[in-house]
Amino acid sequence: MTVTSHGPLPATTYDVTVVGAGVVGSAVARELSRHPGLRVALVEAQDDVGQGTSKANTAILHTGFDAVPGSLEARLVREGARLLAAYAAESGIPVEPVGALLVAWDEDQHAALPGLLEKAEHNQYPDARLLGPAELYAREPALGPGALGALHVPGESIICPWTTTLAYATQAVRAGVDLHLDCRVGAARHEQGVHHLTTSRGTLRTRLLVNAAGLHADTLDRALGHDDFTVTPRRGQLLVFDKPARSLVRHILLPVPTALGKGVLVAPTVYGNVLLGPTAEDLDDKRDTGSTAEGLALLREQGGRILPALLEEEVTAVYAGLRAATEQDDYRITAHPEEGYVTVGGIRSTGLTASLAIASYVTGLLPGLGPTRELEPVRMPNLGETFPRPYQRPELIAADPEYGTLVCHCERVSRGEIRDALAATIPPAGLDGLRRRTRARAGRCQGFFCGAAVRALWEEARS
């Protein structure tokens, strides 16, 4: 198993290289690892997998009910949702099928609901139905006053996005894929059937190339001489509320899109929190993942209308993610067979849901990959609240008391889980990575109680 984060890259020529270890790139690498004869590299500019859009999104497993009918996105989301639900069950990725309600707050939104129901049917999603205010308030008693009705989409679920990406990458690495972190791709040229990528860690050679660089997919595309699309970073700021807020909301509360734009959502998380967001701000800077006073004020104002009691709860995290928006309302997956190059661009917020279907579609565009095999299943640590966490499993604690020794008290993370994460196939590069793998320091105290103890475990493992 090869995971590197420094030093020169191997001198060999890879058969396939995937640029970008987000949820899509990792899924593609995992799919490629099913071909035993291939030498595959997964290269990532940052120090961990899933560090871009994949870590800062709304963590929803969509049905695709509202996609543009007939689009590639509609098809891949529909297929991907089914594939990912099955994969999550097999791999221990937390998923909760809570269902969604698109809540109409004014006449325009209310008038848009029948059209959305029709769209859902066009997208082969037959389970959606309209709710009147009485049934809506019966389902969501803490909802603010003034809602006129809703569209209920029972198939929408919440999922852990970090575990999903990490599971794909872990399985890929265990099946022989080389993961190179801290490896930023700059220039690229294609000569005599081989791509030469100039990276921050030297030259990487590969026969076939998959561009899954997310926000930077257009830059890499241009480096290869194409000019198909432009990625505009669209910032989404989000607030995470503490666990007592979880009892206030039972479904994902989605906004109804109208000509005036799209509002914010309120959704439970699999960790037992509540999410409010995102804003939608088109920016120029692909690194601008900061939150702003204006953005947070806007979220609180809108969230206060949807779920007034939410604002009384403590905020445990504020974050901002950048979505890769393009000029077109569909995925931009383009094959250049003469160059052995596939670009996977414009994967919007549905990319998490569609990831496995995208992977299968992309590998179908690559020539001569050879026979496939079944992968060894992967079993990920459970970060979700619907299945027992290690501290709730007496048999596990009896076998190893470290699982009963809690370090992070707000999130009830044991020393055993932290130890396991630090020794995993893809270990965290820092405390943030450790938090995403275990939830340590992710709670209401943000390290007041446990921060130094968690850091001590991290430093001990590194030395």
Binding site: G290, V318, I397, G404, F448, A452
Partner: protein
Amino acid sequence: MTAVREVDVLVVGAGPAGLAAAARLAAAGAGRVEVLDREQRAGGVPRHCAHGGFGTWSRPLTGPAYARLLAAGAERAGAVVRTGVTALDWAGPRALHTVGPHGPGTIAARAVVLATGARERPRAARLVPGTRPAGVYTTGELQQAVHLYGQHVGARAVVVGAEDVSYAAADTVRTAGAQVVALVTDLPRAQTAPARALDSRLRHGVPLLTDTTVAELLGHGRLSGVRVRHRDGRTAVLPCDTVVFTGDFVPDHELARRGGLTLDAGTRGPAVDGSLRTSRPGVFAAGSVLHAVESAATAAREGAHVASAVLDTLAGTWWPDGVPLVVDPPLRWIAPNRVVPADSLPYVLRTTAFLSGAVAEVTQDGRPLHRERIGAAVPNRTLRLTARWTSRVDPEGGPVRVGLTGR
């Protein structure tokens, strides 16, 4: 299911309040007294306050020495102190589910004392915008990092706050070999002893930026600076690699809330009367979970005080309701915050405004009960009110109100 173990008194939290309560109860023959703490060592917050100011006037101690003394005192009196054990949730009105390295457990008690303490609100809860770099601390984390683990902190730190704990955080920054760039407070002046504020400014040369908030954290990976904004709209960037958010304490009330105990709207801790009885018969609370935060000495005094009420309850004394005790602005909160006529524990309060020559006025249904000179009222500092007036409270009347006037 695990077997239910029975004790007489279960204390949750081995900080000054919990340990003092346990020591007093065990010494008074309350039967089997057990203290749980989720940390590996007993002592609570003083464990990592490596400065003086603890103990008594005749026997001054550092925080860690004080923590050891309290833990030893509880054990010597016969209480069982179990560390590394977390109280997860309620298993009954006076029973708790626990977990530790030995696995799950359920403990039923005749009386429960919640002494779960408080924490500082971190950056996220304060909604400070910006990036999410490394180098962002609360005082609690900073003190543990420096004093318990000897960890490296950055080279240049901005301390947010100008109350006692903020100056303690600045001392810890210097102990770690780093420089304090500035203290920043949104209030017009420091909220500590004038000598301490002066010493920080003159001897250590640390500027105090008043009427100023932290508007944004800057930097990718590691903090590179904080943008501050003065009340008049001016902004500036203070280059630094570390920022410490101090003060703004809130009770760690998760267990109280899970149990459905009535919380006080002001303190956000469990509502209690002067005997520190919560809304549930047999369940008491003491220490900083009631009033985030007071000194360790106040917490320990409350621990000792709650012991006599626990003993009364074990002897079968009736559990009174009490009437609510509420505050009017500029007061933020008062604790205890319910009152019965026999209450004798002095009250602690907080104000949002600076006042000199402050006078507290206690009324019930418009009827004056008491007037008391408070002196100088400073935000984030303790104000005290005696309990000499509680016998005049009508237990059948409306809420008792406390107001504060001054210049």
